[in-house]
Amino acid sequence: MTAPSAGAREPTFTPSGAWIGASVPRREDPRLLTGRAKFVDDIHLPGMLHAQFVRATVASGVVADLDLSAVTAVPGVVAAYSGSDLDLTDIVAVLERPREEFIPTSMPVLARDVVRYVGEPLAIVIAENPYAAEDGIEAARVTYLPNTAVVSDWQALAPDAPLVHGYAGTNTLLDVSMFATEDIDEVFARADHVVRVRAKTGRQNALPLETRGVVAHWDDREEQLVLHTCTQVPHQVRTVASQCLRCDERAVRVIVPDMGGGFGQKCVVGREEIATAAASLQLRRPVKWIEDRKDALTASFLAREQRYDARAAFSDDGRILGLDVDIVCDMGAYSCYPFTVGIEPLMASAEMPGVYRVPAYRVRGRAVVTNKAPTAPYRGVSRPQYVMVMERLFERAARDIGLDPVEIRRRNLITVFPYTGVNDITYDPGSYLESLNLCQQVLTGEGWYDRRDHYAAQGRVLGIGYSCFSERTGYGSDAFAKRKMKVVPGYDIAEATMDTNGSVIVTTGTLSHGQSHETTMAQIVADQLGIDVDKVKISQGDTARITYGWGSFASRSIAIGGSSIDLAATKLGDKLLLIGAHLLETSPDDVELHNAGVRRIDDHNRWLPFSEIAEVAYLKAHLLPKEAEPGLRATASFDATGDGTFSNATHGAVVELHPGSGQVQILRYVCVEDCGVAINPQVVEGQARGGIAQGIAGVLFEEVTYDTNGEPSCASFMDYKVPTAMEMPDISVHHLETPSAFTRSGAKGVGEGGTIGAPAAILNAVNDALRDTGIELDDTPIAPETVQRALHHRMCAEVNL
């Protein structure tokens, strides 16, 4: 066998001939574009039944009577089960913290004697078709003894507040002060300037367009309950399902089909999946539950309702001296598994100083429970909120001191890396200052500053705003352990297998649900082994095939999952070298991977394709070297050590405010991001744009509200205003590259950054536009009415002059 000439190599997409760095067309696309993808609701099993849930209609109350007798009489209804019928163990999420810091509570799979929010599942109705299931729900009779609902954080904190979980003795389930610099009160007392921002952020729905759902069935041959479900965390669903159902974990298999987004809402374990599984076991028939949009809007996992009271001390020359923050997060009725009610306050507390050199820091983070739908992590988790507050503090200080708002940031950004902050985090190198400078340069170069001032003379109201932030991506076990979760996510395990003809399948414990890992992870493996990207298949989302995994959340997949598959591919390569060397009659040190094969370093013409090595490994094992076992499989794990790696970005926005309607129109949006090595630049841009769109949605459009009885006011897309293409600007994305030293490829995570930066940039731009009104807005979302009132206020002021 002789080596083919270099020219015969498959075409690649980068000048270096590497797959990493190329915008390789997505492997996922053909099936998604032709309607051949398989989402949960596309699964149809013989004899399958359909489930829906009887849900609470009061926000807080004792269930005096739950009568399902009429339900089973409804045509098409097969069964109806209450919590006591199914007798399932509660779901409990725990932090290993003392009781004065954290109080564990349990979430029953189906509410039993007490309901805690409108929409809480009380009973499951199983029918021959989804229509009959809804008919059945209407026949359920529930009698409540209603209690006063707790519908706001301040109500929850009141001394005589009704208790959401009576046995907890308080509505504050988490109260932690992670940092308190000793002399911080003196810092504030001595400071030239102290600014304060009090801000409230709206409750949001992560809103994957595919709602939650499951198809459960019992596989007699495997003696396994099989759950096809759209989750970001299949192994955690398996663990909880086996606990709730009191069966061996081996007896539960979770398979994730194509998945229509998650954004965090699907990275916790839901109750309906477990109840559906239990019903399937009772009936020994496949049962499907697909959450409808009304339930997805009112009874799913929500996020982001937080209140900040923040002060910052500054010197006369604009340097921040101290940060003192009180954070209260309204977590709704229950602790989600595995993250608990601590997810939002702990994230904000740990990370708030962000990209700035803050010498003194005190923070108190609290999670309160209310009679509202529970919360889950949502893309960015607290960072969109605390970045807004931090950026507002800097803007306010700039005004107070008389500094340019960009200049004050420049004076405070971290510029020397690694930098260990007051929050005990070591930041790896990034381009904090460079991204800010480039972002401002782009907007200045395009003439937006001139236009803002020029248009003002014509009565048009424009504003320019920025946000600077970094985002820890790839939280490893060490970083998560600091949060003191009882289960500590972090590592990932990959397994690479080459088959007899040289193509490779690699498993990952992460779970792509729109992020393109089938493509980007294949690029990593292809480069590592020197094979065509089409020869690599990424396999995910099946607990029977993947040893263990933590799924996809917290922008961990490429940083951690990508590194573990890289390591597994490397180990597979080592085995190929070992066998190849033997077959090429030399030692492993004297061969290298080349062109989908192994060649001798001293004689490039002596080359063996992987297919021939694989043939030996599987089909002619008698030719293997003594030290090689048959087969070509390598397993590797990766964990981010220490504080992990930080992506960063600066966003710049130009808005125009329309005085007649108060509408905020985004005229220009520039994102300068640095996620280290971009495995696939087109995918990186897509993540940035999509993230920014969700950030804009949060700051201008979307909010889940409740009336004083705890009745949710957003049960449809008429009320929950997901923005359309007409509300979204075109976004220009610029890429800086500071490779990570902590990940195998140099890539950092990119999933959440867009969402983190957008709200602050827009809020600052709106406030810049309002600069002559004397009004500053800190609460979000910003309603047109609020903007209009602010502008109206200015007009009145002008008239009075």
Binding site: S23, P25, R26, E28, D29, P30, L32, L33, T34, G35, R36, A37, K38, F39, D41, D42, H44, P75, G76, N129, P130, Y131, L207, P208, L209, E210, D258, M259, G260, G261, F263, I290, D292, R293, H513, G514, Q515, S516, Q682, V683, E685, G686, R689, G690, I692, A693, Q694, S716, F717, M718, V722, T724, A725, M726, E727, M728, D730, I731
Partner: protein, 171 residues
């Protein structure tokens, strides 16, 4: 038992006899009775557009039309766009412009765009943006969807004879 009706639906050129209740929506019948699961259910109240199909060439919400109402009309779903598995020009533009991420909304956008472009072969970018605003996407921020549809329109204009730009493309 609720009343059932035997109706004939013409979908992607094929006739299907199907037994339905009057209340079964077209999208449910396409997906569950006919097994055409490419059309998705996103909101069941006509806002998200994931269920968009063509009825006599016009884009409609398949969650807002009962299957019984659709009898006798020519219904086309996403499965008709690449019958032999070869992506059509619109689908190729979607992949080239990274106009999809999770892909759940994508069939709805494809059918919306097919219906729109058939009647408006020369749209401006703003026209495209406006029609894209008919459906919801949670992943992309819409920009690349607008890019893809605009690129497809431009491609079809180039491919069509100069005298014939007003007619809908062959399918």
């Amino acid at each position: 038992m609720n009343e059932r009706y035997l109706i004939t639906l013409t979908v992607n050129g094929d006739e299907h006899e199907v037994l339905v209740e009057g209340r079964y929506t077209l999208v449910d019948v396409l997906r569950h009775n006919l097994g055409l699961t490419g059309t998705h259910v996103g909101c069941e109240h006509g806002i998200c557009g994931a269920c968009t199909v063509l009825v006599d060439g016009a884009p409609v919400r398949a969650c807002l039309i009962f299957a019984a109402q659709a009898e006798g009309y020519d219904i086309r779903t996403v499965e008709s766009l690449a019958p032999q598995g070869q992506l059509n020009d619109l689908q190729r533009c979607f992949t080239a412009h990274h106009a999809l991420q999770c892909g759940f909304c994508t069939p709805g956008f494809l059918m919306l765009a097919e219906g729109f472009l058939a009647g408006n072969p020369n749209p401006s970018r703003e026209d495209v943006r406006e029609v894209v605003s008919a459906n919801l996407c949670r992943c992309t921020g819409y920009q690349t969807i607008v890019d893809a549809i605009a690129a497809c329109a431009a491609g079809r204009r180039e491919a069509a004879p100069a005298t014939d730009t007003g007619s809908p493309p062959e399918s």
